[in-house]
């Protein structure tokens, strides 16, 4: 074939014909995660990959819109499909956790750490740990606050575990779903440079919840000031990770919508922290039962129920 044809994007059957015509030609196989362009047809870098796929029409029949990379090619009813979401090593998970706790100014958590390999291990187990940490810490904190009071009888409060798990898993999965839907909708109106897949958003949210685990443990300290300082501190850290991740995805949009989106993200994050603090941890020093009035005429005492 003429050399000019070699520079154009060629279908696989043409390549087979090429090979049949010239069996001695060397062939190169290029793996998926390589960043160098396979051909000169405008292959954008990772951020534009989704639009590029639609342009090229290389829609895998098994690839749904929820996925970002082409490597997840197993059909969704096989086990191997789900194994691709757990393709992380220990040091990678630790790196991602570190990246969610210490935000690097200017660096995007998704681009820096996730890099088109979103995993479900981190979000799932961080949420599970957070559920039990909040339940256990809340129980311990209540125990220490009420210790010594004569009317207090310790209860394990096991029901709160199910409430905690519903809340946290709903936050970690429904909010990314809503955000992803919203970003997709805005993407159809305004062409953004940066767009995230659903799993990447779930990943960011899951890892950003990690800071609440040590925060929940420190909430055992029965001082209001300490607790609120912790809330603000952890909100700053994880909120900044979220903002730095999602600001590039909305900044090309209408200014007010962009600011409103980021503000909503932060507000929901704060609401989760404050809600957990209020529900699972009794307020210190406020929960004083009514004083026991010595009954002179045999009337019963009324204590705070």
């Amino acid at each position: 074939m003429a050399t000019a044809d070699d520079l154009k994007f060629q279908e696989f059957d043409d390549a087979a014909n090429l090979l049949a015509a010239n069996p001695d030609a060397t062939t190169i196989s290029i793996d998926e995660p390589v960043e160098i362009p396979k051909n000169q047809h405008s292959r954008l870098q990772e951020p534009g990959r989704e639009e590029d796929d639609e342009l090229l029409g290389t829609d895998d029949s098994d690839k749904t819109e929820l996925l970002a990379g082409q490597k997840k090619s197993a059909p969704f009813w096989t086990f191997e499909y789900y194994q691709t979401f757990f393709d992380v090593d220990t040091y990678q998970v630790l790196d991602r956790i570190k990246g969610s706790v210490f935000p690097v100014p200017g660096k995007n958590f998704v681009r820096l750490y996730i890099r088109s390999n979103p995993d479900l291990y981190g979000p799932f187990w961080i949420c599970a740990t957070l559920v039990f940490t909040i339940a256990v810490s809340g129980n311990l904190s209540n125990f220490f606050i009420h210790l010594g009071k004569p009317t207090y009888h310790y209860v394990p409060e096991f029901r709160k575990v199910s409430i905690a798990s519903t809340t946290i898993y709903a936050y970690a999965w429904l909010v990314p779903l809503a955000l992803w839907g919203f970003l997709m909708w805005r993407n159809s109106k305004v062409m953004n440079i940066v767009s995230y897949s659903f799993l990447e958003i779930v990943c960011v949210y899951g890892y950003s919840l990690f800071i609440y685990i040590p925060t929940a443990i420190l909430w055992i300290i029965p001082q209001k000031v300490v607790r609120w300082v912790l809330v603000v501190f952890s909100l700053c850290l994880s909120g900044s990770v979220l903002v730095m991740t999602f600001w590039p995805a909305v900044r090309d949009d209408n200014r007010r919508i962009a600011v409103a989106t980021v503000a909503t993200i932060l507000l929901l994050h704060a609401l989760l922290a404050v809600g957990c603090l209020a529900y699972f941890f009794d307020a210190p020093e406020l929960d004083i039962p009514a004083p026991i009035i010595p009954a002179h005429n045999g009337t019963t005492v009324i204590t705070k129920s």
Binding site: D89, W125, H153, V155, P156, R159, K160
Partner: protein, 217 residues
């Protein structure tokens, strides 16, 4: 193949030999039918297998008996007894109190299933039921701890009894986690061991918490 066209077996040489392929592992079911044996033998065989696995858990060595001949009787017995012993706690108000029987059951079985799925998704080579078997059997030290806790609570519920319970539950929790990791660690890819061990740690921690916070009425 032209050379073999004229090969024939002479009629007067008897052909003899064994057609059956010898089976590698002995399985007594093929030697004799278990239908004819007394029921006591059948039950005792299974009970002995369960008992042997209990011993393996209490003295964890790298033996493959727990993995090879998995069974779920032991985990079922342990789970039911643990859930029963966790009953009778303070359950006076509407939503406070210890876990209900169904909650303990669900936590143990659902937790074991999730951990097994997690280990398989991370690339572990262990089979589903083998992992369930190991995780279930390693609840044995915690069941022993629950028994000890209930006995200690019969004597009193003060600070000393709490310290004793804390030490016992802590030691049994460490024993459970170490025993299950000893059995399961080999089947994991080497650079993901911590990712598989951590959920097991969390699982036994939750069960230990339920045992430790048990307060009688």
């Amino acid at each position: 193949f032209p050379g073999l066209a004229d090969v024939s077996i002479p009629q007067d040489i008897p052909v003899e030999g064994e057609i059956t392929v010898p089976v590698g592992s002995h399985s007594p079911d093929e030697d004799y039918s278990t239908l004819d044996e007394p029921v006591k033998d059948t039950i005792m065989r299974d009970l002995k297998a369960v008992g042997k696995k209990f011993v393996h858990v209490m003295y964890p060595r790298k033996s493959s008996a727990l993995l090879r001949d998995w069974d779920l009787w032991g985990p079922l017995v342990l789970c039911v007894s643990l859930a029963l012993m966790l009953q009778g706690g303070s359950a006076d108000s509407k939503d406070d109190g210890g876990p209900q029987f169904a909650e303990v059951f669900v936590i143990i079985w659902f937790g074991a299933v999730v951990i097994t799925l997690n280990s398989k998704l991370l690339g572990g080579t262990i089979s589903f039921f083998q992992s369930l078997c190991v995780l279930g059997y390693c609840v044995l030290p915690l069941t022993v701890a629950m028994l000890v806790c209930r006995l200690v609570l019969l004597a009193g519920a003060g600070t000393i009894s709490f310290i004793i319970r804390l030490i016992v539950v802590g030691a049994m929790f460490a024993w459970s986690t170490l025993a299950s990791t000893a059995f399961l660690a080999d089947s994991q890819p080497p650079n993901r061991k911590a990712l598989v061990v951590y959920p097991i740690f969390l699982f036994y921690f939750v069960i230990s918490w339920m045992i430790l916070t048990f307060t009688p009425q």
